[in-house]
């Protein structure tokens, strides 16, 4: 059994950080309780013997799907269309937050 204390508030904050999520108030505590419960619920999978079973990466038998590396003119967005959903643009470019401090 996985100990309940494994997924504490600190652990949740780490997951949130890795997922680029900001948690508010006591959300980390709340999620921690649920996380432990979920891991417990799905722990029944350990009962099944999978020692000689391969992972199912594909379920309908498709293999090596390729396409021609050519430009599809019907899928090209104009510059204006491409940036039309952005909240912040500068001279036709997307604006992102600074990375360096």
């Amino acid at each position: 059994m996985i100990k309940k204390t494994t997924f504490d508030k600190k652990f949740i904050l780490k997951m949130a950080n890795l997922s680029k999520l900001e948690l508010k108030g006591d959300e980390a505590v709340y999620f921690s309780e649920q996380f432990n419960k979920t891991i417990e619920t799905i722990s029944d999978l350990k009962k099944l013997n999978t020692a000689n079973t391969k992972e199912a990466y594909n379920i309908t038998g498709l293999r090596n799907v390729f396409r021609e590396d050519v430009v599809d003119p019907t899928r090209i967005l104009s510059h204006q269309e491409a940036i039309s959903g952005a909240k912040k643009t500068h001279k036709g470019y997307f604006v992102v937050k600074g990375i360096f401090r």
Partner: protein, 467 residues
């Protein structure tokens, strides 16, 4: 105008010019005006719908859906029409292109009446995670419509739509169809393109129709199915003429009743309905017997791990830079799923969780393969019970995953299935899940249509707002 037009009837009447597209659209818009304040099935109603109908009336085309207004779950990208996935993160998102599914239907002469409510990002089986408020069940407004395609189901059942399009990762078409009382068809994974559908679980997601009859679902699937060069997971296998399966005999079919899907804690009246439904197939000439399957309970864990892993990856693209708001707009459910998925895919835990889930996925696939050597189809309840009450998801952090236990085994194996109305308890509909092996949609449609024609459940209509 008849107040419950099916897609097939609408196509016929439009073709004979007995009704116009404008009349049809006005009638639906009136119903939306009257009923949607209570039901809340729509996130966006297309304010140009009537103009589009006029254009259709003025210029006849050979499209199979000429003049038909359709509604789409709000996770299908619609060019120049707001698409939110029911999340405020995408509150103002206007797509620059159409999903393949949308484009194929428009190419056949249909147009968009509106976009329907869903669980935000399709995370859930209730619509309660929607940032635009939950949809209500047309049979009883105190109950949920199911989800995530709950708006699509409720719109069809309350005659605010002729037919609708939804998507299923595990249950999101069939469970709302069951809870709301319509037909929901989930095709084989890769039968219908995912291009332009806001992704949830990319190895699971399957778009499909929610309709008033099985024939209507066959009409739509015939248009939607097929290889799409924009989605490399779509199959090259020939698309069958699904409407040929309508009105056919099922006496050659061997059908298994999934014994393990009649769960110990399931209400006995729901079990009785499923057993009576199985008898209908027997009376129609099919060979019906109980069949042992792998325990569906393990599918909850497998589905939870695979789906949340894929969610964490898919939702990483929402950075608020190119479109949409920033990540602070994710709701509780999305955050919960993203974090668990991030964990299941993280260094040191992948083997234990993600890879192990994929191995058990193989066990389910193998189990179904051996069953389908002997049986054409499997039947069972779509959902363990009727629609739950509004508010039922509160504090239930695995609500969707738990409610869809009877669909998850087949969906993690990529199998196609349909839910058809098969009875009522407490005045709420119950759905029968009929599923088969990969690409067996024709057989599923044949059986579902025969069942529908032998029963009367699909003809029952709710009086919206009476409860």
């Amino acid at each position: 105008m008849k107040n419950n037009l099916t897609l097939t009837e609408s196509i016929k009447l439009l073709g004979k010019k007995e009704i116009s597209s404008v009349e049809l659209t006005k009638y639906l818009l009136q119903n939306i005006e009257k009923r949607d304040k209570q039901i809340n099935a729509f996130v966006t109603v297309n304010d140009k719908a009537l103009d589009e109908a006029k254009l259709k009336d003025n210029k006849q085309t050979k499209g199979r859906l000429h003049g038909i207004p359709l509604v789409f779950k709000d996770n299908f990208l619609t060019k120049r029409l707001r698409t939110t996935a029911s999340s405020k993160l995408l509150n103002n998102y206007i797509p620059q292109y159409n999903a393949t599914v949308v484009q194929k239907l428009l190419d056949e002469g249909a147009f968009i009446l509106g976009k329907t409510n869903m669980d935000a990002w399709a995370h859930g089986s209730s619509t309660e995670t929607s940032d635009y408020g939950s949809t209500k069940n047309p049979w009883n407004l105190k109950h949920l419509p199911g989800g995530s395609s709950g708006g699509s189901a409720a719109a069809v059942v309350s005659d605010m739509a002729i037919a609708s399009i939804g998507s299923e990762t595990a249950g999101s078409i069939r469970q709302p169809a069951a809870w709301s009382g319509c037909v929901g068809l989930k095709p084989t994974y890769g039968r219908v393109s995912r291009y332009g559908v806001i992704a949830m679980g990319s190895s699971l997601d399957s778009p499909g129709p929610l309709t008033k009859t099985v024939e209507d679902a066959a009409v739509l699937l015939e248009i939607l199915a097929g290889k799409d060069k924009y989605d490399s997971t779509t199959s090259n296998i020939d698309v069958q003429k699904y409407t040929d399966s309508i009105g056919k005999s099922i006496d050659s079919l061997k059908i298994g009743i999934a014994e393990d899907y009649l769960l110990d804690d399931m209400r006995s009246d729901v079990k009785d309905i499923v057993v009576s439904s199985a008898k209908v197939f027997g009376e129609l000439g099919a060979k019906v017997e109980y069949v042992k399957t792998m325990d569906p309970h393990y599918a909850i864990g497998v589905y939870t791990i695979i789906q949340r892993s894929e969610v964490s990856s898919n939702l990483s693209r929402f950075d608020g830079v190119r479109f949409g708001n920033d990540r602070s707009y994710f709701g509780e459910e999305a955050k919960r799923r993203i974090m668990l998925g991030t964990f299941a895919l993280s260094e040191g835990y992948t083997e234990k969780y993600y890879k192990n889930a994929l191995k058990i996925r193989t066990l389910y696939i193998n189990d179904f393969n051996s069953i389908f050597e002997k049986y054409d189809l499997i039947i069972g309840p779509t959902s363990p019970g009727p629609a739950k009450k509004v508010g039922a998801t509160k504090g239930q952090d695995m609500f969707g995953e738990m409610e869809d236990i009877l669909i998850e085994p087949s969906t993690i194996a990529g199998l196609p299935g349909i839910s058809v109305p098969c009875g009522f308890v407490d005045g709420l509909p119950i759905g029968l899940n009929i599923f088969g092996t990969h690409f067996s949609e024709s057989k599923i449609i044949k059986a579902a249509d025969a069942f529908e024609k032998a029963t009367d459940w699909h003809n029952r209509k709710p009086v919206v707002g009476s409860k």
